[in-house]
């Protein structure tokens, strides 16, 4: 192996080590949830959902999207090709669920979301599929027999606005369109109900 090749290899190793160091220090600053941690977080979510309700006046995620402020409105196309806006659901609580067909925790959560949507007249589950083909989403929803409205975030712009960095992620919006809080990771039916009851109790 000549000197030039050796230098190239050393440069490559150095770059990889640099990226590893940079991303490791970044991870320490930002606690990005991983799918493997989502299942562990299920129990913790019970505490989180209580906090969402209790701390809705003080908690804030990012300046563009703030708890206690109007949830950023969006208009997306549903599976029938019709435009659906978040503001169409004023007068009802909205659970915005960001999901994808490949996400196994979204898959587990779907029947509970459907049940929640069916059992509560004052709540709508708005499922926002992120950047997948319409045909794929349509097939998935039909196979599952889910009845909640599904919209397609084809460019992922709404997911970006809502700072979605893991699937599934859910946000709760009240009857006036105020963002109440977000839950990264999967929720159980009991947890969803607990949040909903908490929101109702606070009104």
């Amino acid at each position: 192996m000549n000197k030039r090749i050796l230098i190239i290899i050393l440069v490559a190793i150095e770059l990889v080590a640099g990226l590893f160091y940079f991303t490791s220090s970044k991870d320490k600053k930002e606690d990005i949830p991983s799918e493997s941690s989502i299942s562990n977080n299920v129990d913790k979510n019970e505490e989180k959902v209580e906090e969402i309700v209790e701390e809705e006046d003080t908690e804030s995620i990012e300046p563009d999207i703030a708890i206690g402020e109007l949830a950023p409105d969006f208009t997306l196309v549903n599976l029938d090709g019709e435009e659906v806006s978040l503001s169409d659901f004023r007068g009802k609580y909205v659970l915005i669920n960001f999901w994808a067909t490949w996400c196994k925790y979204c898959d587990i959560e779907m029947p509970d979301l459907d049940r929640l949507n069916e059992e509560n007249d004052d709540l709508v589950v708005l499922a926002v599929n992120v950047m997948e083909e319409k045909a794929l989403v349509d097939k998935y929803i039909k196979e599952g027999g889910y009845k909640f409205p599904v919209v397609l975030d084809e460019k992922g712009e709404v997911a970006i606005t809502y700072l979605v960095s893991a699937f599934p992620t859910s946000y709760f919006v009240d009857k006036e369109g105020i963002l109440l809080g977000g839950v990264p990771g999967m929720m159980t039916y009991a947890q969803m109900n607990q949040v909903l009851e908490g929101i109702r109790g606070n009104e």
């Binding site: 000549n2 990889v16 991303t23 097939k139």
Partner: protein, 194 residues
């Protein structure tokens, strides 16, 4: 929560994928040019071939994705054109690039194995750097084949580095034309198995 864009100013938006693709692509281009001398090849020919492989590789990556996920595209072939970095296939890109390389080797009358060795080295280098994009684009990470654990990113990056070292070391030591394809096949298999 992390930022999805590498750079954003008004309507200009550069995703992390785009940033990493450009950086690793440029580094691979420089490396291919440097290696041309090592392989006693014409530098300008290698640079031309690199750009051709890049384009064909990209097309292959898209077609590969469509091939392995054909159902949603049935009867809607035009939607093949609506692409993003979330619906590309690395294997498709590699297969496309190899097929293009076979044709280029004949066109330029250069030994295919030597060409494959040169571009495989650049590919490993680019991938060792490029795979770190998964640390910044969480959606891409979750949809990738290595999205089971974040530790896999380091593992895959190290694997590509090792492949690069092995390619350079074994190519000179073992005069066997099957060395380069074997390393490439093993690396690609491990990428999808990790």
């Amino acid at each position: 929560m992390n930022n999805i864009s590498f750079f954003s100013y008004k309507s200009i938006n550069i995703s992390y994928f785009m940033a990493f693709a450009i950086i690793s692509g440029v580094l691979a281009y420089i490396l291919s040019s440097l290696l041309a001398k090592e392989y006693k090849m014409d530098k300008s020919k290698i640079q031309d071939m690199y750009l051709t492989l890049l384009i064909i590789g990209f097309i292959g990556a898209r077609l590969g994705y469509v091939f392995w996920n054909f159902k949603p595209f049935k009867g809607k072939l035009l939607s093949i054109l609506s692409l993003s970095h979330y619906n590309l296939s690395l294997l498709g890109g590699v297969v496309g690039a190899i097929l293009a390389l076979i044709i280029l080797a004949r066109m330029y009358k250069i030994n295919f194995n030597n060409l494959l060795s040169l571009f495989a080295t650049s590919f490993y280098f680019a991938m060792a750097i490029g795979v770190w994009v998964l640390k910044f684009d969480y959606l891409l990470f979750m949809s990738s084949s290595i999205g089971k654990s974040e530790n896999n990113i380091l593992l895959v990056s190290a694997m590509f580095l090792l492949a690069m070292v092995l390619e350079k070391y074994l190519k000179n030591r073992v005069k066997n034309k099957y060395i380069t394809p074997t390393i490439l096949i093993v690396v690609m298999a491990l990428y999808y198995l990790i």
